[in-house]
Structure formats: C-alpha cells, structure tokens
Symmetry: C2
Subunit: 169 residues, 2 copies
DNA sequence: GGAGTGATACTCGGATATCTGGTGTCCGAGTTTTCGCGG
DNA sequence: CCGCGAAAACTCGGACACCAGATATCCGAGTATCACTCC
C-alpha cells in the first residue's frame, strides 16, 4: 500500500497558503519552486484541490492560489480524499462467493467478516485523519521550526505573494 | 491508496486453514479453486506467507499448506505486513528541505509536522489491525454464516484435506 | 510375507511477461494587466 | 489630465507520453508415495 506522493505535496502547499496574509495568493510556479518539485505536475494536484473546494484559483497575471476555507475547517482527511480519492484502501471482491460449493441465496446477506475487520481499521485511520486540521499542522510548524528560518521563509514568500483586485465574487 | 488484492486472498486462505482439523493441510491448488482465483498467483502469496512464518508448506504428494501458529496469535497486521510490506502508507520525502531559502543546519532536527500527523493516522490503522486476530475472523464467520452452507463447505474441504506423515521436524 | 529400492507423480519455488495506475510533460483557453491613444 | 480600448503576458485547465509496481503465468527443483522386486 502506498499513498500518492501528491498528498505530501498538497499538505505542504496548504500549510504555506494557510500562513499567507489575508487575501494573498501564490502562483503554482512559486509553490513548486519553494518545494523543489515539478511545477506542471503540482498544478495538476492544485487543480484537484480546487475542484474539491479546499483552495481557490485566481486566473490572469498576478493570479495564484489561496485557501477557500479557514485552516481550522480543513481536515487532513479532506485533503487526502481530495487528492487520493474516496475509496477505502481495502477493496472486498467477495471471493467468498466464488466457491464451487453451492450456497443458498441468503447465505451472503451479511457482510464478509474479513471486509468488516479491514474496514474497521480503515475507519480508525480516517478518524485519526479527521481529528487533525490544517491549523494544527501550521501551529506545529511555527512551534518546532527555528524562528530565524521561519522569518527567512516568510520573507521569501512575502516577496512573491500577490494581491489581485479580483474579489472572486 | 490501494491495498494489494493479495491481502484479501491471504486472509481468506488463513481463515480456511485455521478451520482445518489439527495437522491437516490443503494444497494451494485447492485453496485457489475454493476462492476462484489464479492458482499460480495465489501460490506466490502463499510462499510469501510461508517466508513470514505464518504458514508452513509441506512438499511432495499429499502435501500442502497449514497454519504455522495458533489462529489466536496471528493478527491482521501480521498478515498485511507479510503480503503488502512493512512500509507505512505515507512516505515523507522531506520536501520542506528543498526550499531555495537557506536554512541553518539544525533547522530540520525535529521531524516534519506533516509526517508526524500522517504517521499518527498510520499508527491508528496498525493498532486497529493488530487488535484483531485470525481467530476473531474465524469466529465471526462461523457466527454469521448460515449453518447449512458452513456444513457443505466443511464437507467439500474435508474431501480434499491431506494428512501427511511428514512431521516437518 | 516383509523389506528395500527405484520410478513416479504431485507438491512448492523462483524467474519471466503483461497491464493498470501513478508520474511527468506539453500545449491551449481564459483573464487581468498594461501600455498607448484619443478626447 | 483622464477615460477608453486593444494587445500582451501571465495564469490556470485539460489532453497526451512515460515508468514503476502489481498482476499473472510458466517451467524447474524437491520430496513423499507407491509399486515392484528380491530375500
């Protein structure tokens, strides 16, 4: 089992966007340079986050991306689902029904115990993700990082943040 | 994120093997026929389970597979790790360190908060898997399935179970 | 009749193709800005 | 000096290659069994 690398990219981008001053946007190009990843591929994920309603995109020159909601209302689960999809990790293919032994029609009315057990673990995973918000991540970053480094990062980003006149209705 | 289909196959096979009478073995061919899956590919996963020490393989005619440990001591986490690997779903590639902004050498001494948050969810997933054993699965199967179907399955398997003289030292 | 022995048939084990999904890239559509022109 | 307008440049958005890992398969190595022969 492997989680898409885009999840990591998306979470870091959301954390950066969440730290911007009110109304500021950052172009995808800048986000890619800051994280040292492919700009075009990152755009693909940012587009997905936009469709999911987590970020807003501002077109045109001096455009970019910004959070669509307060960081406190964006959970890690929202982000993971947006990028990686809604489907659970375990997919039951009902191999119990392929047995050559004839079973009655009602034999499989109740769900497969293997499936139930695996989905229990999946629910625990999702609950742990849902209990953490983007605000928690941002708070942890500002707490643990060295203050000098944070200041330099903020400075670098401040030089590239955009404030468009577009209010996005 | 997608869990390997082999995990489902492995769990069902372990459940069947756990229901066999003491000392009985089933060939991979029979397990494949019972689940309606590719015999050769299932063998690949059974070999993996053997290497992980969850099942034992008996070579030669009238050989087959049997559990290597009591069902109570085999957790779902053991099975998932055996087939799908030890690695966590989320892999941190430390993109925070790729920033063009120069940081001090000690800036990244503490772990990445994104990584910490994601691994917290991963730990919850693993804990949920570790808390359930193969015996629980088998118990659930015998509880929820229709008794007539269970009897017919047991009968079909009884015709194919093997008792070799090999003690496997 | 019993023990030894060889062939046998069946099992598991590892190396080899195929294919889906994630990864990465490119070009086009859309919009705001900006510069120039006219009033 | 101010308003208008058209061109431009920069942005995001969707369609197209590439690659790794999971999926699926085949053939070979090994061993308990079984039948036959000999004692």
């Amino acid at each position: 089992m492997r989680l898409s690398e885009g999840v990591e990219w998306g979470l870091h981008c959301l954390a950066i966007l969440g730290g911007l001053p009110e109304g500021g946007t950052l172009p995808g190009r800048v986000l890619a340079e800051f994280h040292g990843v492919s700009p075009t591929y990152l755009l693909k994920h940012l587009k997905t986050l936009t469709e999911a309603g987590l970020v807003e995109s501002v077109p045109g020159p001096r455009g970019g991306f910004r959070l669509a909601k307060p960081p406190e209302t964006i959970t890690l689960l929202d982000t993971v689902i947006a990028i990686d999809g809604e489907a659970a990790a375990f997919r039951c293919t009902e191999i119990r029904q392929r047995s050559p032994v004839r079973r009655s029609a009602t034999a499989f009315a109740l769900p497969c115990p293997v499936k139930v057990a695996m989905l229990k673990a999946d629910a625990a995973w999702r609950a742990a993700l849902a209990s953490q918000t983007l605000a928690d991540i941002i708070g942890a970053v500002t707490r643990i990082a060295d203050q000098e480094g944070l200041r330099r990062n903020a400075e670098w980003l401040a030089e590239r943040v955009r404030f468009t006149t577009n209010t996005l209705s």
